[in-house]
């Protein structure tokens, strides 16, 4: 991992079009400003990892469970 030291107000460029600025440091919290191309999504790591895990879970599927889940859904729909 490349490690750089920056002070509040200082920036780092990634390539030509991504600029990361350390805005302020307050205790354990660091406020970061990101200037990125407007078609580049930015995610927090924990959100990204959660979605990745949920995608992985959506792959595990047995025909039997799917059939049962559909049956349950139909039963509940009739109840309404």
């Amino acid at each position: 991992m490349l490690i750089l030291t920056r002070r509040p107000g200082e920036s780092i460029y990634l390539g030509d079009d991504i600029k990361i600025t350390v805005l302020s440091v307050q205790g354990k919290q660091i406020k970061i400003g990101l200037e990125v191309p407007d078609d580049l999504p930015v995610y927090r790591e924990e959100v990204y990892l959660r979605v990745q895990e949920q995608n992985r879970l959506a792959l595990q599927l047995s025909d039997q469970d799917l059939f049962a889940a559909t049956q349950l859904w139909q039963t509940e729909k009739k109840k309404k």
């Binding site: 990745q52 949920q54 595990q60 799917l66 349950l72």
Partner: protein, 172 residues
């Protein structure tokens, strides 16, 4: 022969399947964790089922169980940023359909859960898809569709898509 649809037979986790290539959805950024897979087909399992398979055209093992969240809940707003709208080539909110991934724990269909934190948005006119992680924690990553946890979430303030300014600040 000229009016014949362009079909391609692909391998899926459910066996071979003929896919109408005009209906293939392109995910320019892939799916999260599967960034290299960019072409998917939506496969309806049964006419009377809310569940669909989002099947990769190129990777047979990559078929995710997804569902229309509105079959299970009324209130679900997805927040789309400017970057996401641009990738989806959206001009209006009506062009976009929402899917969420579904997890059925093995042997426990009563614990079927929708993942509301990683909705998959599809511009169905341009056939472009994008998974859009939600920072808003109002919606759980596991929304149980049956049983005690399956009640409707509290309605939140409506969030018009793309109503954000250029400098947005997110607190976490």
């Amino acid at each position: 022969m000229a009016d014949r649809k362009e079909e391609k037979v692909i391998q899926t986790r459910l066996g071979t399947l003929a896919v109408d290539m005009e209906r293939v959805i392109t995910f320019p950024r892939g799916l999260i964790g599967f960034e290299d897979c960019k072409q998917f087909s939506l496969v309806q399992l049964r006419e009377d089922s809310p569940f669909l398979i989002l099947q990769s055209i190129t990777h047979p093992e990559l078929g995710l169980l997804v569902a229309d969240p509105f079959s299970f809940m009324r209130d679900y707003n997805v927040k789309l940023g400017n970057a996401e709208q641009k990738i989806l080539q959206l001009e209006s909110a009506e062009q976009v359909a929402v899917l969420v991934t579904v997890n059925i724990p093995q042997g426990r269909p009563e614990l079927t859960a929708l993942n509301l934190t990683g909705p998959i948005m599809v511009n169905y006119q341009a056939r472009i898809g994008l998974q859009v992680p939600q920072v808003d924690t109002k919606y759980p990553s596991r929304y149980y569709i049956h049983g005690e946890n399956g009640e409707m979430p509290k309605p939140g303030a409506p969030r018009p898509a793309g109503a954000e300014g250029k400098d947005r600040e997110e607190e976490s």
